[in-house]
């Protein structure tokens, strides 16, 4: 008894320690997550990009993706707007912005969200936000439902539709294997004008702010990716409005997982309360039934009782009448006999 109590107290203590150590794990209600400290990212200074497509070439090389039919030195590719595909993790697009004599070039690839939508919707956890900042993908567990492609607000993940066996979702990995070895991502290394800066996200934010401060008339005062969709590890600064270069500014600052958390929180509640509700209704309807059952029986009984009593009376009456009749007959018979005896005596 006493032992068990000590044990019990021990558990309480453990729980207490747990709650002290596991800050965010056990803190309840208003929670705030900053993402992995010191995670890496890339700052894309759009005002610097010259659209040489070196990044595309490098990306293709380091990820050994299939060789495209148009060479990377062929700038005519820029004439149409492209998106990332299963054969190209990154693409550069050209935008002719009104009131700008020079065209603007923008590199597009996975933004490596702090709270990735793809990871949030993957029902086999194929996507993972790594401490390096890179969002990685594990083709060995992927079922191929392509929900990640539905969820991604930047429309980045692409699919190998033409593979019959084990098709994969394809997207930029921020060169996870390379950065974990201390190397630069392929595209960053290749960029001739340092339009791409690799570093810790917080440093990149500092650099971005510094550039905007120093050249107020060369940049618009907004760092894309600082807050978009709860923040991304890939950041952008630009000399023109981001909406003019095909970047959506209506995405909001809500991290993807929070979009579904509300509804998902309702699931266990339903599972917990529905049975009670349904059983309750069932019980009530059942009770109604049994009550009505009862009433019917009572009614029947009442009726039958009444019937019995009437019958009895009827019988009694009949019996009496019968007896009377018999007596009458007997008397008659006796008188007859007496009368006949008298006749023989004379």
């Amino acid at each position: 008894m006493s032992i068990s109590r000590r044990k019990f107290l021990g558990w309480i203590g453990a729980a207490g320690i747990g709650s002290t150590v596991g800050k965010s794990a056990l803190a309840s209600g208003n929670k705030h997550f900053e993402g992995y400290p010191g995670s890496f990212g890339v700052l894309h200074d759009i005002s610097r990009c010259v659209g040489c497509r070196s990044c595309e070439a490098a990306c293709n090389k380091v990820n050994d993706l299939p060789v495209p039919d148009k060479a990377f030195t062929d700038i005519s590719v820029l004439d149409e707007k492209r998106r990332t595909t299963s054969k190209a993790y990154t693409v550069v697009n050209r935008y002719d912005v009104a009131g700008k004599k020079e065209p603007v070039f923008r590199k597009n690839q996975c933004n490596h969200c702090l709270e990735p939508a793809c990871a949030s919707v993957c029902f086999v956890r194929a996507f993972k936000k790594t401490p390096t900042g890179a969002v990685t993908y594990d083709p060995n567990v992927c079922v191929g439902c392509r929900y990640c492609m539905i969820a991604c607000p930047f429309e980045i993940p692409a699919y190998e539709y033409n593979k019959a066996l084990e098709p994969r979702v394809m997207k930029c990995t921020m060169c996870y294997p390379r950065i974990s070895k201390g190397q630069l991502p392929g595209c960053v290394e290749a960029c001739p004008v340092e339009a791409l800066t690799f570093g810790k996200r917080e440093d990149l934010l500092m650099i971005a702010r510094e550039r905007i401060r120093k050249y107020p008339d060369r940049y618009i005062n907004h760092i894309y990716g600082e807050t978009e969709m709860g923040g991304t590890n890939w950041l952008y600064i630009s000399g023109v409005a981001f909406s003019d270069i095909g970047m959506r500014e209506d995405l909001g600052v809500t991290p993807a997982p929070e979009l579904t958390s509300g509804a998902l929180a309702a699931v266990p509640v339903v599972a917990g309360l529905w049975p009670v509700l349904l059983m309750g209704i069932y019980a009530i309807s059942k009770r109604k039934e049994s009550i009505s059952q009862q009433e019917i029986e009572d009614a029947v009984r009442a009726v039958s009782d009444k019937a019995d009593s009437e019958l009895a009376q009827a019988l009694a009456k009949a019996r009496k009448e019968q007896e009377a009749a018999v007596r009458k007959e007997v008397r008659k018979a006796l008188e007859e006999a007496a009368r006949s005896r008298d006749k023989e005596d004379i």
Partner: protein, 528 residues
Amino acid sequence: MNKGKYLLGFVCILAVSIVFIYSTRILGSGQISDVSSRSRSDVIQIDKMTAFGRLEKPPVEFLHNAHTEALAKKKMDCTACHLTDNDRIFLKFKRIKDTDRIEVMNIYHKGCISCHGEMKAAGEKAGPVECDGCHKEKTLYSSSGQPMGFDKSLHFRHSEVQDKKCERCHHEYDEKAKKLFYAKGKEGTCRYCHQTETKDNLISMRLASHIACIDCHRKNLSKKIAAGPVNCLGCHDREAQQKIKKISPVPRMDMKQPDIALLKTAKKGSGVDTMSLNRMNFVPFDHKAHESYNDSCRICHHESLKPCNECHTLAGIKEGKEVNLEKAMHQVNTGRSCQGCHVLKQDDENCAGCHAFMGKTSRTEDELCLQCHMVPVSEKKKLLKPDDEKMLATAKLLSRTPVTGTYNENDIPEKVIIKNLSNKYEAVDFPHRKIINTLVSNIKDNKLAGYFHSQEGTICQGCHHNSPVSKKPPQCGNCHGKAFDEKNPLKPGIMGAYHLQCIGCHKEMDIKKPAGCTDCHKKIKDKM
């Protein structure tokens, strides 16, 4: 049959609800009105009713010229719509001033609709008569009307024809007499008094100019003598503005202004202590030259023609909107201050190549300050007499050498061989001397530039930045090395440095060649 009735009822409900929902479209927010490509310079938004509170219907987009032309066809003039009072015209439509809501509204509705109606009746092309014909949800035209400036040349031409009778336009207001009068020698630009908005009896610049100009022009026209435009396009249309006759050089406006001024921290005898009189090295200022650079006095004398330091004192006072002298002289990102205006000049193609990278900051090296603050402390121990001041200032100005200096030809390396990227391409022959010569020749006729680049090392600083001026400055590779150094995240790596500088400069200077990688980096032979 019963069902049929039901169905009928339902259909009605359906129709009603649809109507309702579509009406919400008007209430609905975020209605994107596509800005039509059609633009005119005579578009006037009739939203006068806002004076009486919220508008019930969208404001009316009024095309003034369309009407004047239509009226001209009928041999009618402004008076068809504008009231006049002893040949002074009122700008408001068929009224002198906004009385009250209903009345003004009726004036518009009666005036417009009746006329349109008549013309329609007469089977002529006429404007709308139904509500949303005028009160449209989205605007059809974007106004291309340009603000009309009364520049020096125009001013001169007017004063010529008015045979220098300034009082014809210039006036002051007498508070007591409650009337306008002419004060000789106190003429300033209209905007000194007439602000953008009308305040009690001080009418807005818009009103003032339209009344004054158009009235006068009309009279002259009626007198059949050469007159300025009376319709919108005449003044506000871009093409028309180009057509306005310009005379140059414009003879100097004579307002007793100095040719050369000595800018000081405070005006003598303005009650300030001698200490603040002697704060800072004085600046000799070539007032006459600057007059010729600018189109109007207002560029610098934005509130009045007073000397700068009367409103912009060392500490700053209310008259100067608390802008102290330092700001008034050095504030960047504005055309009003000395340095601000000079920095703006750096956006010029010939300057931007280097200056674009330096950022726009008022802070410069101390020795640069002395380029303007020339008159040293020793010489202003004693308060100077005006003439001496002038002499001193003139002397200092003349001592300046507005010529771009640089090292002599053979001290400048002719070529620089850049071997980075030699793994991919041939080394680059960087035409070092040629570039410098181009830069120098580009600005040799620019007085301002010449004055600030007179030192021989200055021009080199465009590329050899962040290191002291010298004949043999450090090369790019001496500072720029591996990219993304965490200790020094703001400094680009060597490759970035090269490309940013070269490509950036070429972009800023709008140099088309070389384009693409191989114009600078020759392909490696064996690869070809």
